[in-house]
Assembly symmetry: C2
Homo-oligomer: 471 residues x 2
């Protein structure tokens, strides 16, 4: 399956939309600088900042895009004299200008004088980039302190806030080209999960399955949109080591997502039994999570407050666990006393786009509506999104069940539920450490579009795929 | 194949060797800080600095190892309160101290006071780490400017130079545990190349083969020791995009190497015909490179100057091309006029260890013997190593042939050879853009040990592997 390329016209439309919101205020968006791995010349694969990629679609290291007087000018490092040998013939600035339909492409060495002519750096809005050196570079260009890692604490009333708000307004609602990217990467990532299920039989360590899945992404030209989680210890939420041995009785949790060359992300979690057959207890809890997940997915629609989906999923899980005898009492009372977060201690999901947590570089500014703030309550405090959904927004839906010793030992979390948590019943489910089921969902004018629908999640389908390799 | 773990005793021996060379001078070695990818919380997989990994074997983000008074103390960030939930139960400092056989493990917050007690940062030697933020962190701890990316320009006579020289002296000669790592990662990487050959039939884009090879590394729990090169445009030396379509008549060049969890690197290049059969012209040039490569490999022995191997490979290539009619004249005369670099414009190889270009963070200090300097001549200027080889040193041997338009157009490079380069004969070989054959070789007391010998390079073997998938 080929990943589509976004036509230049879509980038033009995005730049025009931003320019219209900026008015006469100039703005500078930086791609960021390459980051070294073990020594300066051995670098991580360069990932440009998402704001830059959204408007340009190409990851030019060290580049910057300037909006001024209704024109978009790209500033690039000219090729070094030996680039042709080491990196191949590079397109000329004129060719790049033409391909990307920009007003102009100029050498980075011209940038400082042009910023001066615009009234200096204090007249030019910007956004902090992904790391300290890139942000320091911006500070130097603009002659004012850009605070790194502080998008959510931009000084009120500064031009940077207006730029942030403009970017958020545009990036929240995915255009057709963005949706095409999200669909393609979701589909390819779903395929990687199928291959992971098929690679499980005979594997002895997590990394064998992780390798099959990562290889499947790379075979489509996709990078990882985040560090892949492939583990039999799903109760460790961000378990990225792939080191554990796996045993026939284990559940394997894979939270793996691809990223297109233009930067668009997928984010899928699936869980499957290593043996190819869920135990009775594994199946019971899997069904609790799947039921909550499908209900939550069906709620993704225009006007729905995302927090309501989160809360409904929590209540659905509490109800399922109550029906299994893990909780006693009425669902609402249990929920109010924090029962959901004991086993589902994170948010139901997040925005998805160019960043897997889209625009998290701007803190909660993009994902929390004005006047809404993070809850202080355990579990709910990890909810990354509290908007009323609108068509064009893409979100993940990812409830889970985790048996986390540190939580179960913590009286501050479990105390209010007390004896209504039946630990002897819970012990019967000891072969479940972590389950999470996660899809990427596009809010539309009508039914939600599940972008990741070709990743099987119904237990019989999952079992059949795992078993298919054993034959 | 399982990658071995280095026993704690080997790290103790390395730390003792360093402490003995340091004498009473204290030294601080930092692991470095995690680097953000697209936003601060979405990070690249953490890779600790190689000096730190050499002595500790574990990649603790932000950690530092202090040598003082004959004792080695590890300073670590204590786990955050919610680490158990997101990253799993962490070993206690006492457990880490025991497992790594360190004198002590202490929280990072204790470090500044301890440095003060040692006489302040000017009394403590250090080495710049891999990027600016990590180096800025060091500067702050030591109260003096540590210049990033400047290992090769350390101030003469400073304590940092003595530390660099001590690390180089130890790391140049691989101990048994290091050799075990290098053997294992070479073997697994060789397997990835075999899978790449087998994945070629039916592939339409470079990324399909790259994906098979990267997946094969991950299946052994290996990371990439550098950005993989998998391309039908081998004439672009660092072609890391994997974007090109591939055609039956192409040669595919794969320069791909794994890295163990402890950080040890492999670096293998193989070239194979996409169709499964070399054309006559491809085979002729392949044999020229292979002949030079095998001759160079056989020269890796105690006391041999590495530059001599480089020059011999260059002369061998010139001779082979002369025999094919691409050059006219006597080999020595052609070589003196720069004929080798027209088609083989890089060095014959480099040191290999924890870094794929081992200790390149220290510039040429590790790899060039005192009094030896980089040549100014095109081609030779890229030679990364000029030592007399000693047992325990690992190097790559990687001659090549490239048809680079930018070089062939460049009168400054080709002028001295002039008409003795027969461009009409060269045109007959137009179906060869780039060939490189690269092995990892350990210098021993006797015969060189080719660590990567299980990656086939003889043309019939390579053809058979590519064809085997077509059946």
């Amino acid at each position: 399956m080929a990943i589509p390329r976004t036509p230049a016209s879509a980038f033009v439309a995005r730049r025009n939309a931003l320019a219209a919101r900026l008015g006469s205020r100039p703005a500078l968006l930086s791609a960021g600088l390459p980051r070294a791995r073990n020594y300066p010349a051995n670098r991580y694969p360069f990932r440009a900042s998402s704001h830059f990629l959204y408007l340009v679609g190409q990851a030019y290291p060290g580049a910057a895009l300037l909006f001024a007087g209704g024109e978009a000018t790209l500033f690039l490092e000219p090729p070094a004299s030996d680039d042709a040998l080491w990196h191949g013939a590079q397109p000329s600035f004129a060719e790049i200008r033409e391909a990307l339909q920009l007003t102009a492409v100029k050498p980075l060495s011209d940038l400082d004088a042009i910023l001066q002519a615009l009234g200096g750096g204090s007249a030019v809005a910007t956004l902090p980039t992904q790391d300290d050196p890139s942000t320091a570079w911006l500070s130097e260009r603009l002659g004012r302190a850009i605070r790194p890692r502080s998008g959510h604490t931009l000084e009120a009333g500064s031009p940077d806030v207006a730029l942030a708000e403009a970017m958020i307004a545009i990036r929240l609602h995915h255009d057709d080209a963005a949706i095409a990217q999200l669909r393609a990467v979701a589909e390819a990532t779903a395929g990687a999960h199928v291959l992971g299920m098929r690679a499980t039989h005979g594997a002895r360590f997590e990394w064998e399955i992780a390798g099959a899945m990562i290889g499947a992404l790379r075979r489509h030209g996709l990078d990882d949109s985040y560090s892949p989680i492939v583990t039999v210890h799903g109760e460790v939420l961000h378990n990225e080591t792939h080191k554990n041995p796996i045993a026939a009785g284990d559940l394997l949790l894979a939270d793996v997502g691809g990223e297109t060359e233009e930067g668009w992300a997928a984010d899928i979690t699936r869980v499957w039994p290593v043996s190819g057959t869920f135990s009775t207890t594994q199946r019971e809890l899997y069904d609790v999570v799947l039921n909550a997940q499908e209900r939550a997915v069906s709620m993704v629609r225009k006007g729905m407050r995302y927090r309501t989906i989160h809360e409904t999923a929590g209540r659905t899980i509490v109800e399922g666990l109550r029906d299994l005898g893990i909780f006693n009492g009425d669902v609402e009372g249990l929920y109010e006393r924090g029962a959901a977060a004991i086993f589902f201690p994170h948010g139901i999901g997040h925005l998805l786009g160019l960043d897997v947590h889209d625009m998290e570089d701007l803190g909660d500014r993009a994902a929390y509506a004005p006047g809404r703030e993070r809850s202080k309550r355990f579990g709910d405090c990890y909810l990354r999104l509290d908007l009323d959904l609108e068509p064009g927004m893409a979100v993940t839906i990812e409830p889970g069940f985790y048996n986390v010793p540190a939580i179960l030992r913590d009286e501050a979390i479990t105390g209010a539920v007390g004896k209504d948590l039946d630990r002897s019943v819970l012990e019967r489910f000891a072969d479940v450490r972590g389950i999470r089921i996660e899809d990427d969902v596009l809010c539309t004018e009508e039914e939600p579009e599940v972008l990741t629908r070709s990743a099987p999640k119904h237990p019989e389908q999952v079992e059949a795929l795992v078993r298919s390799a054993a034959k």
